[in-house]
């Protein structure tokens, strides 16, 4: 086994501070061979990043061991990892904007002259040498703030190579790259491999795995599902492993036929040819069009970061990034509406960013429940709120949504995650007139609350509401939607009818960027 340069054995990591403790890594074992390119794939929340953070010394595992070259090691600190030749290129770069490329490259390992001073010329020289050696072009003198994202990534790579990394870990490296830049990156991978480096890269893009990896490990819900040589895999087989096997017909909670029976259903929301600017994360929406009618539950599927956030922000008026296209609410053009106006229309938004936007973490349940209702009749007049009615509302919502809080004045952070989510749901559904945008409504929520939340949404759909359900949880999408659109890189790459889709594989392929009909690829 001298071939195995790195081994993780039975790594377990639990995050107990959340009320539903999350087992991020469940007895995960992983082997890296010398000189190979090894991909780790899995959906959001599968545990990939946690595993790599453990390997890099940012987290300590609760159980399990790490073996480097057959020798057991303890990595308490990134500096330990770096010293042992493990380097990581994070998804969000660890660069200093005002420093030059050269300065960033040598950061914390600066070459010195006269003992105390940083030798800038030597740093530039080192940068040039390393850049040439690995064929990764960078300009040593340019300030990082002025460098394009692809160059910044190259600097990060060169940085860890300079620090002596033999094992290079990449976390979603192509998230911010164009296809050409991604190809350049993979050439670099091959070059590094020729140089004897071993590479681990985390991705959800199966095409990339097929294109450049030697072996692949699939992780799902904290556990290793499979390890295989890429040449023995197809995209479909990988996709299947990543998302699970067949659709569970009995998992359907919604009868599309029942909900969409009425041919005269009104169109509640129409999104037409929506195009946006590049957001901070580099994703731009391109020509998004879809319709939501009364009774529809439109599921927006896709791996996180493919434009779902941007789409939601456009609809809810929270960000001004729309370049082209229109959004109509019952015929009214709401493209340029801001958050306040959207809310006045009665469009409810259950946010995925629970603790940042969804609640006021320093307030009581009461204060969290009344936002929005506080300025509407019958709970408020022109200036004054009716405290009596608002208190009744809060109590009513607590009861109706089964929120486990001792009273409405309980501090909201004393509630469990599921109950906090129910508060958000309660508040929003109370204000909704006929359109609900639900983003990750059951993320991190206990099973009982999940059931409850789903039922609430279904009820609303039966009442004729239109619902847009954005979720990276495929089970949720499949069980609740009347139709599914899959997003990839800012586009709607395909639509799926959840009642007729026989196999999750179909959706898995779409999520991985393979349009329908292009399947059956082998390495």
């Amino acid at each position: 086994m001298s071939d195995t340069i790195l081994e993780l054995r039975n790594i377990t990591k639990v995050f107990p501070d959340l009320e539903t403790p999350v087992i991020a890594n469940d007895r995960v074992s992983f082997k890296l061979r010398r000189g190979e390119i090894h991909a780790i794939v899995g959906e959001n929340g599968a545990g990939k990043t946690t595993l790599m953070n453990i390997l890099y010394g940012l987290l300590t595992p609760d159980e399990g061991e790490i073996y480097l070259n057959g020798e057991r090691v303890q990595l308490k600190n990134p500096r330990d990892a770096i010293a042992r030749g493990i380097g990581m290129v994070h998804q969000h770069f660890m660069l200093i904007p005002s420093f030059t490329v050269a300065e960033n490259l040598v950061f914390t390992f600066e070459p010195t002259k006269n003992r105390y001073f940083v030798d800038k010329e030597r740093a530039v020289e080192i940068t040039r040498q390393i850049s040439e050696r690995y064929g990764l072009h960078v300009d040593p003198h340019q300030k990082i703030a002025e460098c394009p994202l692809s160059m910044r990534q190259r600097v990060e790579i060169l940085k860890i190579l300079f620090q002596g990394a033999n094992i290079l870990i990449f976390d979603e490296p192509t998230a911010v790259l164009t296809p050409q830049e991604a190809d350049e990156l993979f050439s670099a991978f091959r070059e590094l491999k020729r140089d004897g480096k071993s590479i681990i890269f985390i991705t959800h893009k199966l095409r990339e795995v097929m294109a450049v990896a030697d072996r692949v490990t699939v992780i799902r819900k904290g556990q290793v599902v499979d390890v295989a040589a890429v040449k023995d895999c197809t995209i479909e087989s990988l996709s299947e492993k990543m998302v699970g096997r067949k659709v569970d017909i009995h998992g359907r909670k919604v009868d599309s036929a029942e909900l969409t029976a009425d041919p005269k259903r009104e169109t509640i929301l129409e999104v037409r040819n929506l195009v946006t600017e590049h957001s901070r994360t580099g994703v731009a929406l391109q020509d998004i069009s879809f319709i939501v009618k009364a009774g529809d539950i439109v599921g927006v599927a896709g791996v996180g970061g493919n434009g779902q956030d941007e789409l939601v922000e456009c609809i809810t008026g929270l960000d001004k990034i729309i370049k082209n296209g229109k959004i109509f609410y019952r015929g009214l053009d709401i493209t340029s509406y801001n958050a306040h106006q959207i809310r006045e229309l009665g469009i409810a938004y259950i946010t995925g960013e629970r603790y940042v936007r969804g609640i006021s973490a320093n307030s009581s349940v009461y204060d969290n429940l009344i936002m929005g209702a506080h300025r509407r009749s019958p709970w408020a007049g022109r200036l004054f709120m009716s405290l009596k009615r608002l208190r009744e509302l809060a109590d009513h919502l607590i009861e109706k949504y089964n929120i486990k809080a001792s009273s409405r004045n309980t501090h909201i952070m004393n509630l469990s995650g599921g109950n906090i989510q129910k508060c958000i749901l309660a508040r929003e559904l109370n204000l909704a007139k006929d359109l609900i945008v639900a983003e990750e409504p059951t993320r991190g929520v206990d099973v009982g609350s999940i059931e409850f939340i789903h039922n609430q949404l279904i009820e609303k759909s039966k009442e004729g509401y239109g619902i847009i359900l954005v979720s990276t949880d495929l089970d949720e999408i499949l069980s609740l939607s009347t139709k599914i659109i899959v997003m990839y890189r800012g586009r709607i790459i395909g639509t799926v009818d959840p009642e007729t889709v026989a196999d999750r594989k179909e959706i898995g392929l779409l999520m991985a960027g393979i349009p329908a009909g292009e399947g059956s690829e082998t390495a």
Binding site: L318, A339, H340, I342, R343, E344, Y349, T351, E353, V356, R357, G358, I359, S360, A361, N362, S363, S364, D367, I370, M371, G372, H374, R375, A380, L383, F384, M385, L387, T410, H411, M413, N414
Partner: protein, 350 residues
Amino acid sequence: MKRGSALLRLGLSLIIALLISSLFIFVAGEKPSFAYYHLIRGAFYGRMNMLTTLRWTVPFIITGIAATISFRAGLFNMGLEGCIYLGGLTAAVLGMYITNLPAILHIPLCLAAAMLVGALWVYLPARLKAYRGVNEVIVSWMLSYIAVLLCQFLVSAIFQDPADVSQAAQQVRTPYIQKSAVLAQLVPPFQLNASLYIALVLAGLFFVFSVYTKYGYEHKMLGLAKEFARYGGVNIEKMQFWSFLASGAVGALAGATEVMGVHHRYIHGFSTDMGANGILVALMGRLNPVGVPLAGFFMGVIQNGSRAMARMSNVSLDTVRIFTSIIVICLTAEGLFELLRLRRLHKEGK
């Protein structure tokens, strides 16, 4: 404020501050209990003491509310001192030059004008912060210094009391205001005056605003969770802007009432750190519409009582300042309380 223990934190900070100041008293060679006895006595015992305590409570409440209005919205109006001076000067000028106006019109006119000037003065930092995200701490702070200097200039150059010019040690101050602009003393000859009513009405209005109105709720949530408020449809920019203006206006009100009620003229330097004290009161009152007036009263007690304490014992006024500054420091140390809480939890074997 975490998990409803805000009161606990206040209590803990008070205890720590009390312990440390007691230490200082002890080192000064005095018995802490003796010192505190004189403080309490000096604040409450006897008509004069009680009235003087109330007299000091007034500016504390008004400046405290001024600071609270801005802090509660998540903004730091460090320019209160400037607003106070400008308000005082405006009131003095209008109080001097407008004659033949009955008090019932003259007084509101002076107060309103002062508040207008105060609001206008902070227009710049308000607009820059709300709509452009410029650091309001620096801008309002700088403007404060400018305001104080401006007032000094205006008075010494234009509004100076002619009776003073001939004197050697020139105090920069205006002539007395008209009788019709004076806020009457409640119990002559003590300094407590009708501004007490103004302070109480202000506190009442602030309470009603914060607890009962839509905007009061939004104002509160803006400071507690800006993104939540934005997402809930609150117009962040407008609310920040108007909160800042209101803060400046109320600060000016404090200056005006001091001038109209206590000194009856503008004396440069009349605000002995009123602005900073307002911030102090706001912090101690935990930005709460009930807490701030109470904290204002508390500070009034300390202000008055500490003088008696300094007279009757070996304890200097600085001891009291040590006490209040430690409260401020402890109150803002979120992590300290988290640490103590976690330590307790670990002991319980979590």
